[in-house]
């Protein structure tokens, strides 16, 4: 094993004419030393190989395309010290230096194609084959945070092809911070990479991605061609393939997005040689250039938008929460992850503008109008003959967007912008400019958009996209806040009731599931405001249906809370129309007097029928509690009591008495030690006291 460096040198000397033999020998040595050698032996071997590559440029030009796969096999966890700066991982450093030689002196087209091929096949899962010691679920504190600081080399494109080892390893922000020090902080012996939890496989995958993508980028610049779009198309295709294979498994997708951003922003089209230009008539040449430019523009736009959609699936910008905080003058306190995700989204947003994407136009076309088209053929309420038909249509609505997506995917022939990415960029617009991308949005636009982007995930995990759901919530809140209430009410009253109900069902589900308390509060507020705007019968029927059929007790509790608010709170002085009516001057005796103010009216008027419906539901909850006393059933009953307590002045006392009586009986007999039962006893006693007072009065 110790002789391998010498053997490499000899192979270059003896087999330089027979490149097939030479590459076979190098591959063999690579796998042998990587499999059996010590770290020191690997370093010595790679040092020797690098030396030979720099000394034999002509040979390198012939064999370069064959080396990347063998070299990448050295980027495995046992060869990289995860707790130190990458620059101190000598094996990694030497591999990168070899790649640098390959990129600069190998046959550009061959190496580019090799790079694309590797890129499209890079998989997080595949690493286990080459990395037997890495346990699949192992999490380590890696120097990944150091890797993440391989920042975009803003303004340093000139240096790119010079030596990307330096670029890969440097910490750009330290260039200024440590100017006065001889040794940069990350090179000092006592340096320990800041910890960041990340799977070993992902760490290695990202290192490999970085190295290969740099090779693709560098070789692409060295290619001479009249048709650069073909090569750009290959690079974009392989990045998409990488994304499709890995996006769902990558925790730190910002790293990948940074790489893609650097590639897209730094792209300079390969140029043809002067000989080629000379041989083509000028008009023909100009036409080719024009067509090629057009294709490349489309490819770059497609690359950045599709990448955003692919890699931001598991991220969120809490943009609805940010809007809520802005409206309520609250402090929006994002965490450090938010800052990172927002940073990269912001860069993509600006790059989209640089690439002439008219975001507002695209948002209207691809998000609003296209979503509306999906649901435009739905029948009116009056055309639905019975409940079965209504249920069937409900099912259709849930599936419509998913089917549409599949058909679109199958029929897509052109490189179009991705609607989901435009939706994502609309969030960045708000966060960048503090105003909505499309201020004219209406509540029905938001409902169609919501159904279109949220429902497909119910049929395929491939469409699970937390980011997009968050942005949809932001738009709903925007429409609710920006458009006058009377206008929103009018719009909602014109939508088919079953469509409204399905929208409310999904919104309720999403509002009751987020992990963060603030987000949950924002979504429940949004839902409450939407319910205030819906036709009363839809709101009440939806509430009753939820309380009757929803399988999740915590959602029923939320619904009761909302229902109480709607029945207690009164509408603010009604719309402009009402104001206008109250100031109308009618020429009669009282001509100078204003009309009397409209009496306050709750968002949901309490009627006999509505009381009866809720009473029945409360009795059902009590029945469940009696049958199986548990935390869930007692919490639900307690919520009913709170509801009734809040509305007791308006409620039917007979109904109230019935509940109180039955509950008292149960509580007397029940011996369970559930703490919730004690709360029930207290709440019930309050109601009993209230009823006794009322009876006396």
């Amino acid at each position: 094993m110790d002789n391998l460096p010498g053997k490499v040198a000899r192979a270059f000397k003896e087999d330089s004419e027979d490149v097939v033999t030479l590459v076979t020998v190098i591959d063999l040595y690579c796998s042998q030393v990587n499999r059996e050698g010590t770290r020191a032996q690997k370093e010595a071997f790679l040092e020797a190989l690098f030396c030979q590559l720099t000394l034999n440029k002509e040979v390198l030009a012939k064999i370069a395309w064959d080396l990347p796969k063998s070299l990448l096999n050295f980027i495995v966890i046992e060869n990289v010290d995860t707790d130190k700066a990458l620059l101190k991982s000598k094996v990694f450093r030497l591999v990168v230096k070899c790649f640098n030689e390959i990129s600069l002196h190998g046959n550009a087209k061959e190496c580019f194609l090799t790079g694309c091929e590797i890129l499209s096949k890079l998989k997080r899962d595949n690493l286990e084959l080459e990395d037997d010691n890495a346990e699949a679920d192992e999490k380590v504190e890696t120097s990944a945070s150091l890797l993440s600081s391989i920042e975009l080399s803003d303004g340093t494109e000139e240096a790119r092809s010079e030596d990307f080892v330096a670029e890969a390893i440097k910490l750009p922000h330290e260039k200024t911070e440590n100017k006065s020090e001889d040794i940069p902080r990350h090179l000092r012996d006592d340096f320990v990479a800041p910890p960041l939890e990340r799977g070993v496989e992902e760490f290695i995958l990202e290192l490999r991605l970085h190295v290969v993508l740099e090779m693709v980028t560098t070789t692409l610049k060295r290619i001479h061609t009249l048709y650069p779009s073909r090569f750009l198309g290959m690079a974009v295709g392989s990045l998409f393939a990488f994304g499709r294979s890995n996006a769902d498994q990558i925790d730190d997708s910002v790293f990948v997005l940074r790489r893609v951003f650097a590639f897209a922003r730094g792209y300079i089209p390969p140029q043809p040689t002067q000989e080629v230009i000379r041989d083509i008539p000028k008009d023909d040449y100009n036409k080719i250039v024009e067509d090629e430019n057009c294709l490349q523009r489309k490819l770059l736009r497609s690359l950045i938008t599709t990448s955003l959609n692919l890699f931001l699936k598991k991220s969120e910008l809490h943009v609805a929460e940010a809007l809520f905080a802005q409206i309520k003058n609250l402090q929006f306190e994002p965490d450090s992850l938010w800052t990172v995700v927002n940073g990269i989204s912001s860069r993509y947003f600006q790059l989209a503008l640089s690439f002439d994407i008219d975001l507002e136009k695209e948002f209207v076309t691809r998000c609003i109008e296209e979503s509306k088209r999906i649901y435009q053929s739905l029948p009116k309420d009056s055309e639905i003959v019975n409940d079965n038909a209504r249920k069937a249509i409900g099912q259709v609505i849930y599936q419509l967007a998913y089917t549409y997506n599949l058909q679109k995917l199958a029929n897509e022939k052109d490189l179009s912008l991705d609607a989901g990415s435009i939706l994502i960029l609309s969030a960045s617009h708000f966060l960048e400019k503090n105003k909505p991308l499309y201020p004219g949005i209406k509540i029905d636009d938001c409902i169609y958009m919501y159904l279109r982007f949220v429902t497909p995930a119910m049929f395929s995990q491939a469409y699970d996209h937390d980011f997009m759901v968050d942005v949809c919530h932001y738009w709903i809140l925007t429409a609710v806040l920006n458009v006058p209430c009377h206008e929103n009410r009018k719009i909602l009253s014109k939508l088919p009731s079953y469509l409204n109900v399905i929208f409310l069902q999904i919104l309720l589900l999403k509002a009751t599931t987020p992990a963060g308390g603030k987000q949950r509060m924002v979504l429940l507020t949004t839902l409450t405001r939407v319910l205030c705007l819906m036709p009363e019968n839809i709101t009440f029927d939806f509430a009753v249906d939820t309380l009757l059929s929803c399988p999740f007790p915590h959602i029923k509790c939320c619904m009761l809370g909302i229902l109480k608010d709607l029945m207690i709170n009164t509408r603010p002085h009604e719309s402009d129309v009402t104001d206008a009516l109250s100031t109308l001057s009618i020429k009669d005796d009282a001509s100078d007097k204003k009309a009397p103010p409209v009496p306050p009216r709750p968002f949901l008027v309490i009627t006999e029928d509505r009381m009866a419906a809720i009473h029945s539901l409360a009795l059902l909850a009590l029945k469940s509690l009696k049958q199986s006393p548990s935390k869930e059933t007692s919490t639900l009953m307690l919520t009913y009591l709170n509801f009734l307590s809040g509305l007791r002045m308006k409620w039917d006392l007979i109904f109230l008495g019935e509940i109180v009586k039955e509950l008292s009986q149960f509580l007397q007999e029940e011996e369970s030690e559930l703490s919730e039962l004690e709360f029930l006893r207290i709440a019930n006693s309050d109601l009993i006291a209230f009823l006794e007072e009322e009876t006396k009065a």
Binding site: L152, S153, D154, G155, T156, E157, E158, R265, I268, P269, E290, N293, C294, Q296, R297, L300, S346, R347, Q350, L353, S354, F355, D356, L359, E360, K433
Partner: protein
């Protein structure tokens, strides 16, 4: 008369900077940022200005925070930065957007006159440059990678016309 001379962006003090005063001059317009890798280009820009301003070259800097948020300061902070670090004496305007719905009319005009790489009209990064001739025509557009000093010959040519 070129539409260029009808433009009047706002300078750093909030007053309109009438482009009509630029008639007959060669003008180099740059979107600048204080915290960019290209910020040292200020030095070459100032050298160009010092050398050719007496012959009719005007350089105008438009601070812009759109690229990597690399121009976060206020207009007065930006002005001070340019003066202290690079001795800039050419006019620096009020901070603007160069892309998107809020883009400054100057930049909308310049971009409409000359596209960049691949025919994209959008500005890609800080320190892109537009060179305007004495008649108000956009002569050329240069990427951030083009160093100001490399424009000397073209500027001399335009000045001599």
């Amino acid at each position: 008369m070129s539409k260029f001379y009808a433009l009047a962006p706002t300078d750093k003090t909030g007053k309109p900077f009438e482009f009509s005063q630029l008639e007959g001059k060669v003008v180099l317009i740059v979107n600048v940022a204080s915290k960019c890798g290209f910020t040292p280009q200020y030095k070459e820009l100032q050298e160009l200005y010092k050398k050719y301003n007496p012959q009719g070259l005007e350089i105008i800097g438009f601070p812009c925070n759109q690229f990597g948020h690399q121009e976060p300061g206020t207009d007065s902070e930006i002005g001070q930065f340019c003066q202290v670090n690079y001795g800039v004496t050419f006019p620096i305007m009020k901070k603007v957007d160069v892309n998107g719905s809020d883009e400054d009319p100057v930049w909308a005009y310049l971009k409409s006159q000359k596209s960049g790489l691949l025919g994209f009209k959008g500005i890609k990064w800080n320190f892109e440059k537009f060179l305007v001739d004495k008649k108000g025509n956009v002569h050329e557009r240069y990427s951030s990678l083009t160093k100001p000093a490399s424009l000397e010959n073209t500027i001399e040519e335009l000045l001599s016309q």
